[in-house]
Subunit: 352 residues, 2 copies
Amino acid sequence: MILPGDGIGPEIVEQAVAVLEAANSKFDLGLTFTEGKIGGAAIDAYGEPLTDETLEEARQCDAVLLGAVGGPKWDQLERDIRPEKGLLKIRSRLGLYANLRPAILYPQLAEASSLKPEVVSGLDILIVRELTGGIYFGEPRGIRTLENGEKQGFNTYVYSEFEIERIARTAFEAARKRNGKLCSVDKANVLEVTVLWREVLDRLAPEYPDVELSHMYVDNAAMQLVRAPKQFDVMVTGNMFGDILSDAAAMLTGSIGMLPSASLNESGFGLYEPCHGSAPDIAGQGVANPLATILSAAMMLRYSLDMGEAAAAIESAVSKVLDEGLRTADIVTDGAKKVTTAEMGAAVVAAF
Amino acid sequence: MILPGDGIGPEIVEQAVAVLEAANSKFDLGLTFTEGKIGGAAIDAYGEPLTDETLEEARQCDAVLLGAVGGPKWDQLERDIRPEKGLLKIRSRLGLYANLRPAILYPQLAEASSLKPEVVSGLDILIVRELTGGIYFGEPRGIRTLENGEKQGFNTYVYSEFEIERIARTAFEAARKRNGKLCSVDKANVLEVTVLWREVLDRLAPEYPDVELSHMYVDNAAMQLVRAPKQFDVMVTGNMFGDILSDAAAMLTGSIGMLPSASLNESGFGLYEPCHGSAPDIAGQGVANPLATILSAAMMLRYSLDMGEAAAAIESAVSKVLDEGLRTADIVTDGAKKVTTAEMGAAVVAAF
Ligand SMILES: CC(C)[C@H](C(=O)O)[C@@H](O)C(=O)O
Ligand SMILES: CC(C)[C@H](C(=O)O)[C@@H](O)C(=O)O
């Protein structure tokens, strides 16, 4: 199912769908597409950011490709009907607890990083973020008025063992397929919930003797990502810390417009979306970078649809257009060929 | 009061005290010192990371200079008697809610950063972190066993209006004295407690018409710190986000061994400590950088003791030794004079 969403969402998803259609005919994949609304687009059409009907349709599909949600147009709405709630609802109701966010520096784009080349060249980190628990969903939550008339806001950061265990297993298994290093990030010197997190990781570690597990406090992890990011292979952490660290890690590459993500449930069903947001400031101008969404589509073929060959073909087509010097505005440098969203999409299709 | 703490704490504090003594005689400040134990040192001596007696002694003083706490020696202890609890106790019991963490790039040390020079040259951010509330201290908290036998960890992220208001005022006032820009960091698209945070900041803004207030989500803030940190002047945020962002910001400079911090209460009483930790791996070797602690001592003179002239003299002495090319191991580069902790301290005293 295709959920374009808001801002640049429709533009970039259009290109990704074109690439999927090219893969569809070349590899005879037999893909069919349905489309739905999420976020602000759904609020405008139905008064809520994700209807139960759209949710059910998504559940019936084999996978979901999403653009992005949100924008200033919906910022003044009541909290419960904000665009973001649509995203949180689909993640939670479809049980998409395993969010995989790669932070990869494409050699062709090494210059785009704000970090020194020697610090980031060859960077390849996978952040595994728990996505359906933690403080994002913990109860009780809200804003109450105290006896003295003062308001108080509160949220609950909560994880139970099974939630930690399943995301930990996802991360151990990912590390096993990569370089065998897993760094679990917590704040166990302050927060009890992450003391339990650390305990569960340590309990599982003997089952993965080929993976080297380490623990790091979140403040130090933020520092180490800036100082020497190549020390990491796979990082695993909760929903909130994962939100922060994965964005920082993505930005290390300087080309967040290139980074895909997958959010999976227990059975491999997944939602695929670019790491970046809806960028309302450049929406509708045809200048957004569609590559993160195109690469998300490739991830979708690989992880949820078992079409690894087609996925690899998309990825190498992307690499080829980068080699050819094609760049959208966000990653353009001197001497490169600046292209629009549609031109970039067409180039990937042509490179097939 | 002097609380050297653990790891490199005693070594670096020794140098800072030597500098304070030099300032004491040169400017006739009339300073007197008492010393106490905190963290692992206090656990070893008294079985707890901060005794009520030490706390009372600190309260009687005009200010506290602290080294750092923690180390592997105490990592296996019960949660309640870990070194960090001493730090959390003194912050909380003395009401030191306003944590000021500057992230400044010293021009002499521009090369030390992992970021490109043009991204960080001239960097000068002040992070104002709430230090006695939020999820660090919220109740209920703990690890419980559910009916199905599974364990569940939980913490509470809570702020009431007065807590937000007082730290916001600290930040608005700091921005007023600097470049008039304040960025408040929250996650108001997900967490109700930070919806209240944003409301309070917006409510106070009209009282500071000379300050330009903006809001940013914490994931975006982490990204922007990596991408273009010079866009920030003052940032204000809660305890947990402040912990993460201030460490990331400090690391942007590449020389966290240079960065001081102040933690103040309503009446200007303060605890001063370096931004970095106890670095147990290099403790006792005489190689640690004492400058963050020396600069913390300067902040102490300025903010809590109203001795701005002596503070400025210390700061310019530090600048002078950097100009002379003196560097401890953490910031050494080709062509610089590598010095020990004690040599660096002595050089600052001599530069007076
Ligand atoms: C839009 C927002 C609710 C979301 C999150 O915080 O999870 C986004 O930042 C992300 O990381 O996908
Ligand atoms: C040691 C730890 C409890 C502390 C904190 O998290 O506040 C430290 O990281 C800091 O930032 O001062």
